[in-house]
Symmetry: C2
Subunit: 184 residues, 2 copies
């Protein structure tokens, strides 16, 4: 919601009221609250769509797909979800990083995404702890790739970053990541 | 803090006041607040010690250690930290699971643990995203092993669960985890 982002940036998240946001967007407060449970939710409105896309990718993968391929399918879906470029994600991240309360909600939403993906994996007959580890891995890779994407100045391709982060994680846990340059 | 755990269990977390907890423990409220910033912190008092133990294990590993070995060292230190058996962790988990506000703080504390481990890895010359992926992986494995440990009725060895969860994660990301039994 562009009006809310603008206000958060102009005044800071804490100083922008729902009345301000609604007015800027040309909405009544009542209409605002029909769409968003509270002010914070404006920043998390895309979450359920991302989650649905990732869960659908897991559910729609071939029956023979192994956990690693399901992680790949979920990440490809996430890459498509963010196909409008990093600028909005970058602004959103700046607002969230400045506010501990928003950071907490972000963590809670990501934990919900892990739980939803784990359920989708269990629905495919994958047991625990594999389902949970697979879901956690997908979300870890997503978070790290999104951080890199929104760190970059340019318009790096998110899908490339997602694949690169997954490859890097595979190297780390396989024990083939680059050894440290200096000792501790 | 045994007195606080008892009160949270008897009355529910929300209904136990700091005055109650202090009285049960034979402390003044003032002394309580010298040890804990607020009521929630009673449940997270062990966190810094766990973090210090894991960070020290990363810092103290041989100079040649690769990221995977550093994850192993951090997890062994965590296994030692919880050497008093699962009962207290199980009670703690029950209290936290019943309360969304406590769940949020738990997530925030775990994010802090990831950040501290990532810093310890960077101090060894490991760059990003490897440092962050390695730290995330260590904490994911720790969380899943702790969940299994506190789920169990018996006294399963946490170190065995930590090693098993790390092995399972390695199998998932290597693509050698057991394929799902049924298609989605």
């Amino acid at each position: 919601m562009a009006a809310a982002f603008e206000l958060f940036e102009e005044r800071g998240y804490d100083n922008a009221t729902v009345a301000d946001i609604a007015a800027r967007a040309g909405l009544t407060k009542r209409t605002f609250f029909r769409h968003f449970a509270d002010k914070r939710e404006v920043l998390f409105a895309g979450g359920p769509y991302l989650q649905d896309a990732m869960v659908a990718a897991v559910g729609g993968a071939p029956a023979s797909a192994e956990p690693l391929q399901l992680i790949g399918a979920a990440l490809e879906a996430a890459g498509e979800f963010f196909d409008q470029g990093p600028e909005l994600a970058r602004r959103r991240r700046r607002i969230i990083t400045a506010n501990p309360e928003l950071q907490e909600r972000e963590l809670t939403k990501l934990a919900g995404l892990v739980a939803a993906l784990a359920d989708a994996l269990r629905a495919r007959g994958i047991g625990d702890p594999t389902a949970l580890l697979t879901a956690e891995t997908a979300v870890t890779v997503l978070r790290i790739a999104l951080d890199r994407w929104t760190d970059e100045r340019g318009d790096e391709d998110l899908r490339r970053l997602l694949r690169g982060s997954l490859a890097e994680l595979r190297a780390v846990v396989a024990g083939t990541a680059i050894a440290p340059a200096v000792g501790g």
